[in-house]
Amino acid sequence: MNGAILALENLTVRFGGLAAVDGVSFHVEPQTVHGLIGPNGAGKTTAFNLISGLGHQNDGHILFNGETIDDWPSWERAQRGLARTFQNIRTFGEMTVMENVLAGMHAHVGGGLGATLLRLPSFRAAESAAIGKARDILGFVGLADASARRAGNLPYGDQRRLEIARALASDPKLMLVDEPAAGMNPSETASLIDLLLRLKARGVTLLLVEHDMHFIMNLCDHITVLNFGRKIAEGTPVEVRSDPSVIEAYLGTKVAERLEAGARVR
């Protein structure tokens, strides 16, 4: 717990009478891939919004690297090393692929207004360093050849990669990845799994929301399961997969009972 990069403590948010996230606590260990799963409406994306600062909880705390970040706006969380991608892709469509990644480096590229206007050597050095780094990142996600293309013209799978590249450009310690495999075909999904594993190897901790169970089970070190805003299970993929409450949440009570009965007969 002490070494956790992210810890949610009794996190609760209510929209009117509905508790979309209801007393959820879990923590994410550094250098791991942590999955956050649950049926539709379980509160996964709401939890992501709270963690990234796009919404505010009614109760509970969020700790990032041991610091309480409850009152930090999203840009401050981003500056301190928390990045995210979105379920509905939000790349900057009018900008080039390269510009998207450069925009991702916003918090780390130097250059105030004065240096920018006077094109001081410090500005030029910072810009060319940023471009070099952006090339590396584009190479890393496999978009090196697309750098001058308009982001909005990229195929869907590449836009996902670009969004990850943009998030990676902000030098995150923790990246929240919201349904990266949605709408992807099996081969795109496979190469995405490969990309996320390479991200982990780079030292980025990942918190992942995903519906594709194959994807989750292959990738995650640890999984937290939400249903109706509450945490119903957590553990390793193997533990979670065999947890009756998880099966019930996904498949309904009757199916769960039948499965249990079947197991007994056997």
Binding site: G53, T96, A103, L113, A126
Partner: protein
């Protein structure tokens, strides 16, 4: 040849001044649109700059460079004050709040004796000229181009495309919104001061809602893909009424028609091209 030029400049002097001044106003509109905000306070800031400069010149006989600086500083301070509460708003709400600012200022100018009431201020000496006006415009344009090819420009464009995503990249949204509003106010104030010192007369009605919408239309016609768009828009909209003069009574009809056609068929404005940014090369 020189005689012809002299004649031309003499006859069209005020029109040529207006080209430069409206170009500055268009840039003042551009800087807020560039981060995806819609503020209609530009006319009010222009009025504030115009009155500040005229009063300093007329009542205190202050040196002109100082007058120009003050004409930017006063609207900047006003922007800081009204920005704090209003920049929490966005979209049409911010537009409405800034229209409100314009009306408040207009009524204040009308009712204050210091500002000459509804009659305005007259007898302002002609201290600005072609060189000053067009140098200001050129400097402002160069500054915008330099900024757009930088981290700041990328953050501004990111905000325009998707403010939430920009915030998630560490872009300090309130600071950018405020800086854009202050820069906009300074440019509008400068344009107001220059205008006051070439037209010798200012009155509260020059800075009302009509003016605010006219300034917005420069940017909409020209397009906000680059800082050149709004300036081109300003030049066209300033020239059109003169060019269409032979049409007599149908002048305004054609003026309106041209704008409607441009907006319908060129939604990205007349100048849709973007400045090639650093790093755009493959």
């Amino acid at each position: 040849m020189y005689e012809f030029l002299d004649d031309f400049l003499f006859s069209y002097q005020s029109l040529i001044y207006a080209l430069g001044i409206n170009g500055l106003l268009a840039l003042s509109m551009y800087v807020v649109l560039a981060i995806g905000q819609l503020s209609l306070g530009q006319a009010a800031f222009m009025g504030l700059g115009a009155y500040t400069s005229a009063l300093l010149t007329l009542k205190l006989g202050a040196p002109f460079p100082l007058v120009l600086l003050a004409s930017m500083a006063v609207p900047a301070v006003a922007a800081l004050i009204i920005g704090a509460p209003t920049l929490r708003l966005s979209g049409v709400y911010l537009a409405l709040a800034t229209i409100g600012l314009g009306e408040v200022l207009r009524i204040a100018f009308v009712n204050s004796e210091l500002t000459g009431g509804a009659l305005g201020l007259s007898g302002i000496p002609e201290k600005a000229g072609y060189t000053l006006i067009f140098s200001c415009l050129a400097l402002a344009l160069i500054a915008f181009v330099l900024v757009s090819r930088s981290r700041i420009g990328r953050a501004m464009e990111a905000m325009r495309e998707d403010e939430i995503a920009a915030g998630m990249l560490g872009v300090h949204l309130p600071r950018y919104r405020m800086s854009a509003l202050v820069a906009s106010a300074m440019l509008a104030g400068l344009a107001g001061a220059l205008n006051a010192h070439v037209s010798s007369f200012i009155s509260p009605n020059d800075y009302g809602f009509d003016a605010a919408v006219t300034i917005l239309s420069y940017a909409l016609l020209g397009g906000i893909g680059s800082p050149f768009g709004p300036v081109v828009g300003a030049i066209i909209l300033t020239l059109l009424p003169e060019v269409l003069r032979p049409l007599h009574d149908f002048r305004l009809v054609f003026n309106g028609l041209i704008i409607v056609i441009a907006v319908l068929f060129m939604p990205h404005g007349l100048v849709p091209w973007r400045i090639r940014r650093t790093g755009a090369r493959a």
